[in-house]
Amino acid sequence: MAQSESAQAPQLLPPRRSRGRRSSLFSWRARDQAVFALAWITGIGLCLVVAAIVLLFATKGFDYLRPDLLFSRPSAAVNQAQSGGFLDPIEGTVMLGILGLAIAAPLGVITAVWVVEYGRPRWLSRIVESAVEVIAGTPDVVLAIFGLALFELGIFAPLSFSSPGGAFGRSFLTSGIIVSAVAIPSVYTATRNGLIATPRQLREASYALGKTRIATIRRVVLPAVRRDIATGATLGLGRIIGDTAIVILLLGATLRTQTESGTPLLGLLRGTGSTLTSYIYNNSPSGEGNAPNKAYAAAAFLLLLILLLNWGVGRIGRIGGPPIHEERRLGA
């Protein structure tokens, strides 16, 4: 019916979008005007800060950043022409990122699922919630020194290697475990918010088909929040990549990746190394290397990595249309 009508009726075009008369900015109250101005100033100010950072590294960093730096190993030479690039720190960053996320993602997701979907007894879930907040608020250097104290205990020797008086405590494994604590809050918060925003109807639909609670979580609820999980994990990865204190205290921040004798992969995981952040620190004027040019180059590269990650987070948010809890019925 509707089709035949539209075929006969003349083509209806939308009118040009126009706005009616609106209240003038100058007629507002002084306080409203002030807040309005502040909103503009802070917004633009933030953009300026970011622009300044990017611009600094675009000029200063990329002057020194050459492709060969990315593919050559660093070496301890006073002559900067011979001190090599930062392949090892890049490897370290990638490894620590994978390791930290491999621990943080499941823990964060499982914790969020427990708090939102079960959360009984109440007092326990409240404790869990504030524990995550405490971890999120703890400075990473405190986490690092805690990790050092913990992993120097003799029983943790398999994670690094034995040294007189206990374990060495510094390795990819130990730093990976502690650095995961930096990423857990991001994963947890994103997942929890996604779970809370997932409509109760979706769960009920599954229960109404005779599914158990755990099957509902696994097959319906988790798929519904997979984008939130991905976003949280990517943000957490950014935190891991950007972390410095834990790397310096717990990874050893050695110039090159040092494997600990043993089986190939395990030896690498039990060994020490460095990441881009510790490389920047050590090459900065405050560090022992004192090669600011290298530091700027590595910093520019790290910034590029973080910008890429942020872009990735934005992309993840859009995969497969809007998330289920924002606009569920596309066709309706």
Partner: protein
């Protein structure tokens, strides 16, 4: 829109033959014979109430059911029987306990932390509280007011109920005929068969609701509960779904909550009117609409309140 649906609402399609231009005289018992003579293929358009009740078998019986949310009663001492082969419509103003009553039938009210209840709900003379909840809900399935497809493909939505009922997960190939059959019964198969791997969220609202029906009937439930399944849909989708309900009625007992009195009149064999948690009146659709026993029912149907 199919012929059956249009006839069912006494609505005249442009190409309808002359005999259809009069509203169907529902009380005439020889109508079926007339229809058979004029248009044998349209026999489904006969008034449904004439034959359905005769073959109806009681499946679900409510005995003195009360449901409370905290200290507030939502359903008070309702006794009712629900029969296979007929559609029972629950009508009444908002907040009268229709949905609560519906959710009690497959124990979904148990998910509300402060809900408590008394009385018994018997499925084939077995107390539903003695049936494991997942098994009960497989036998007494439900379709909700808002279409709520899962965020997965069309195939997986329909296969969802069938999967994971046993320890061994069935293969896709084993599920395919069942999924196809469910989609066909829900009248959705022709529209989606080109790509069953498409996300269910990309379907239109009416298609999504039919998908939810396909999902609910895929595991061959004995009773289908529908909570205002058309209230979020446009008239065309509503017509398709009403048509579907009339077909499904043959194999299932259907309980439908609706705010739409015309809809109840069109599709229900029996109507139960609820008001403030009480079951005021229950009876054959024609009787309730044309000659209600209770004054409250009369006023509600006349639009005095609601």
């Amino acid at each position: 829109m199919t012929d059956r649906a249009s006839a069912a609402r006494n609505w005249v399609a442009p190409e309808a033959p002359a005999w259809q231009n009069e509203p169907l005289p529902i009380e005439k018992l020889d109508l079926e014979a007339q229809l058979m003579a004029i248009a044998p293929e349209r026999t489904n358009a006969r008034p449904r109430r004439a034959t359905a009740a005769a073959t109806a078998v009681e499946r679900l019986r409510l005995e003195d059911v009360s449901v409370f949310y905290g200290n507030t009663p939502a359903v008070k001492n309702v006794s009712l029987s629900i029969r296979q082969g007929e559609v029972l419509a629950l009508i009444g103003p908002s907040g009268c306990g229709k949905t609560t009553l519906l959710r009690t039938l497959n124990r979904l009210t148990e998910l509300t932390p402060n809900a408590s209840h008394s009385g018994r709900v018997l499925l084939d003379d077995e107390d539903t509280h003695d049936i494991v909840d997942t098994e009960l809900r497989r036998r007494v399935s439900m379709v909700f007011q808002q279409p709520n497809p899962f965020p997965m493909s069309i195939f997986d939505n329909v296969g969802f109920a069938l999967r994971e009922q046993s320890r061994k997960r069935p293969r896709r190939r084993e599920l395919e005929p069942l999924v196809d059959h469910a989609l066909q019964r829900a009248g959705l198969h022709d529209e989606v068969r080109a790509d069953l791997n498409r996300s269910a969220l990309r379907l239109s609202g009416g298609q999504q609701q039919r998908l939810c029906i396909a999902r609910a009937i895929a595991q061959e439930p004995e009773i289908l509960l529908m909570d205002e399944p058309c209230s979020a849909l446009d008239p065309r989708s509503t017509a398709v779904i009403e048509d579907l309900i009339l077909q499904l009625r043959e194999d299932l007992a259907i309980v439908i909550v609706t705010h739409n009195l015309q809809q109840a009149h069109r599709i229900a064999d029996r109507v139960a009117f609820m008001y403030l948690g009480d079951l005021v009146e229950v009876g054959e659709t024609e009787q309730v609409f044309s000659d209600p026993r209770e004054e409250q029912t009369r006023e509600y149907i006349a639009g005095v309140f609601g």
